[in-house]
Symmetry: C2
Subunit: 501 residues, 2 copies
């Protein structure tokens, strides 16, 4: 570390032992000195030759620093006057920063300014984000027993998948590396359209399919395309918190509509908000109660939507895993007025970090969705889309679903049996035999939040049912995932859970 | 194909040659017949035994179909009455669908309903999306000469990269496959914070870094977190269309502020909209003009933001490729009031389909951004984040940047020379020596849109400068990318372009 006084300049500290090159240290020093007011506008600075000599360094780094300071407008050169601090840096621009930029005080300023109420108003974020601050999460999000939405990752055919990924990443085409289509990779859209037509009775052309980053992006795009700020949207009560987030983010006005044993109570929705612009719904396997929406209600809903011009956002998040009976056909397939936006995901059938899902939209909305996707984040990783296409086309997808359906059936049975044995009547299992989680009601008056907190402390994840409600529920419960929880963990987890209640 | 009349039922057509299983054909037939009103609520249907006999099929598929129809509420069973069409399907729910659901008429209904003005109002999308309908794109988006934002993909170290991807995908940890952190993979956030601190003088902790899906998502999140509907935001005129899209999507009011040779005219911005809530800016290398913002303007901007409580969205989209002189330090590094949101991307240094970028946000906004990301699409592919971390940590990133900087310097020189030789004075190159594209002005009165269209017909991409303006510009120009355009393509492309003008 050498300190040199450069004529009329404040002392310049250069450290030749530091990794930062000399030109950069000089540049930084000048910039700080100018911003801190130690060097004033119009003030002359030494020539590169004399500064280099004074500092005992080569002239090259000094010239580099000066060049840079010129390029950024901190220095000016005038014929006859040599190099000066730029005169156009206004005095008042420098004063607020004076004395603050030197050293490492910026962090302190930020901290102190955050404490004063005045500057709090100065650090305002949007209302939509302020509204989103969810209640503190009391349940564990670790990869532990009963974590909701987690598939059986240990059974995923990793070798097959990494082989397919490698096939494309080893010698990628330019198309796979460059900017892709906002609507998605065409061969994947074709494969999805075929799959949904065959398995979910979804009626669509590939041109109506958009590949998304999981179902959450499908919800976000739907909210942004369909709803303006303060427009009403029915949501299921209780319902999926991720949908509430996406709709809140779009500034929509959420209208909770109760769910009973037939699914969403459509008549009640019409009573509460007949002019709502959209409805969010999980008809195949209601989240979180597990109810299947009845045919009557489906027809009533479609009829209301057709009459009022409302859009229906159908979230078919886990219908691959209908465990008892045949899969329930989609609402989209019943829709004669092209009012349904069908949202699905590969996160549960494949693995969450794949980040691929899809929406099927009415033909006349395809462009609007594509525009919204382009504005949001342009497109999804093309390499994964290509690998996913192969995974479907080469039969691995159907095979994996079949295998997992059997596994989840066993896991569900093991969980239900363990609950029956150890926890009845404290826990009452409800909902259809589907998906990768079940909901169990607690006795009236027992706080599911308190239990979820205790369970988290014991290393198990028990999502409280109340977290899915917009308004306080009459009865609490626990949402228990069994997809990623094996037989041993189920036994152990229920033993621990019994201790919590 | 056999047609059987099942007693009092309309004829059922079963096709044993079709891939669709019998139970599914039966289920579909009943569903359609009920919805079309051919079977009425309360109407009795044959027993599974008698229907199976009549159709000449095994009883198993008939039972399956009936089960399914029960599960979905189309059928009811009453003791003594056998199986009936559900009586709770309301008459009026069925009428609008009557006669429409049979056959393939749904498409036609959609098409015809779209033509009537009444139903157009019934198919309203949000204002923000309606506002986004951009002018028709007249330039080529193919991977041809002068395509903007396209890097030299043929020089990307594909083998190294696919090796790193394979390293993680062959034996992925559960953490890499499961749900990831909305803020990003921690080791990557650390690597980004170090990189930006060293190279861009960005001052941040890893906790302030969020991994995004390219810079576009950084812009989207910034818009959503910082701006409410109808709040003002300065945008550069001309400026990056992707930023306009993201801000429009958030419902913000865009205020175009002219750019001159010192960058954004801050005084003019203050005159036009002193109370704007944010500003979008590309200070290192203005998009598309290529100007570097002067120190004076930087200070004025920071001062205005500090005084008025406005946020600054700094898009540092291509500063890795400063070709002449040293890189210009970021605005973020000058900011003493934590008002700058710094947006960057790996799309240009790596390849666009990687879909990884980042934002650096003030510490007190990190949670809000994370919440917004969670609501948008949860998180980015963890596998790619892990591979990207290795790519940086193992030195490949710095090496590739150095190599590409030399290459782009050569390509730029070749393009500038070709323009000088063949196209002066028809094209006038402007802007600093940086990035992967340059802007060239056309003579006054020449339509850049017309030229871009002609160029597209000849198989080259010439983005018109006017597409970056909110208001009609005084002079048109062309934005020519040279990152993904090699020496031969440059010569050939300029020869063709000369023919267009």
């Amino acid at each position: 570390m050498k300190r040199v006084s450069a004529g009329f300049l404040p002392p310049i500290a250069l450290d030749s032992g530091r990794k930062v090159p000399i030109y950069r240290q000089l540049y930084e020093w000048f910039r700080r000195a100018i911003l801190a007011g130690q060097l004033r506008p119009g003030q002359r600075v030494p020539s590169t030759r004399s500064l280099a000599a004074e500092l005992g360094v080569s002239r090259i780094p000094v010239s580099s620093a000066y060049e840079q300071l010129h390029a950024e407008g901190y220095f000016e050169t005038f014929v006859g006057a040599g190099t000066c601090v730029a005169r156009s840096i206004p005095d008042d621009a420098l004063k607020p920063a004076a004395g603050k930029m030197t050293g490492k005080t910026a962090g302190k300023i930020l901290r102190s300014s955050r404490q004063s109420p005045d500057s709090k108003a100065m650090r305002k974020v949007s209302r939509r984000v302020a509204l989103m601050q969810m209640p503190a999460q009391t349940w564990s999000n670790q990869l532990v027993a009963f974590r909701v939405s987690l598939p059986a990752l240990e059974h995923f055919p990793t070798r097959v998948w990494s082989h397919l990924v490698n096939r494309h990443s080893r010698r990628p085409t330019r198309q796979l590396m460059a900017y892709g289509d906002a609507k998605g990779y065409r061969p994947l859209r074709e494969a999805i359209a075929e799959y949904l037509g065959a398995v979910r009775a979804v009626r669509c052309e590939p041109s109506q399919v958009l590949v998304t980053t999981g179902s959450q992006q499908g919800l976000q795009l739907s909210a942004q395309v369909l709803l303006d700020a303060n427009e009403g949207v029915w949501i299921e009560e209780p319902g999926y918190p991720g949908a509430r987030q996406a709709l809140t983010m779009a500034g929509a006005k959420l209208v909770p509509v109760p769910v009973d044993h037939e699914g969403l109570n459509v008549a009640e929705g019409i009573r509460r908000a007949p002019g709502a612009h959209a409805v969010y719904i999980t008809p195949s396997h209601q989240y979180p109660l597990g109810v299947t929406m009845s045919a009557t209600r489906r027809m009533l809903l479609l009829q209301w939507a057709m009459r009022s011009g409302a859009w229906i956002i159908e979230d078919d998040y886990d219908s691959e895993y209908r465990l008892g009976g045949r899969p329930i056909a989609s609402l989209q397939g019943l829709d004669t007025d092209a009012r349904v936006i069908y949202v699905g995901t590969f996160s549960k059938v494949m693995f969450p970090a794949l980040r691929l899902g899809y929406v099927v939209v009415p033909g006349d909305l395809a462009e609007a969705f594509s525009t919204a996707r382009d504005a949001a984040d342009q497109f999804s990783s093309t390499l994964y889309q290509a690998a996913m296409t192969d995974f479907i086309r080469e039969g691995h997808f159907a095979r994996h679903i079949r295998k997992m359906r059997m596994l989840y059936l066993q896991r569900r049975a093991a969980l239900v049996e363990a609950i029956h044995k150890r926890m009845e009547p404290k826990l009452e299992v409800i909902g259809a035999e589907a998906g990768m989680h079940l909901t169990a009601l607690l006795p009236p008056g027992v706080s599911d939040v308190a239990i979820s907190r205790r369970a988290a402390e014991m290393g198990i994840s028990a999502m409280p049912l109340s977290s899915c409600y917009a308004n306080p529920p009459r009865r609490g419960g626990l949402i228990l995932g069994y997809g990623g929880t094996d037989a041993r963990q189920i036994q152990d987890g229920i033993r621990k859970l019994a201790m919590c209640i």
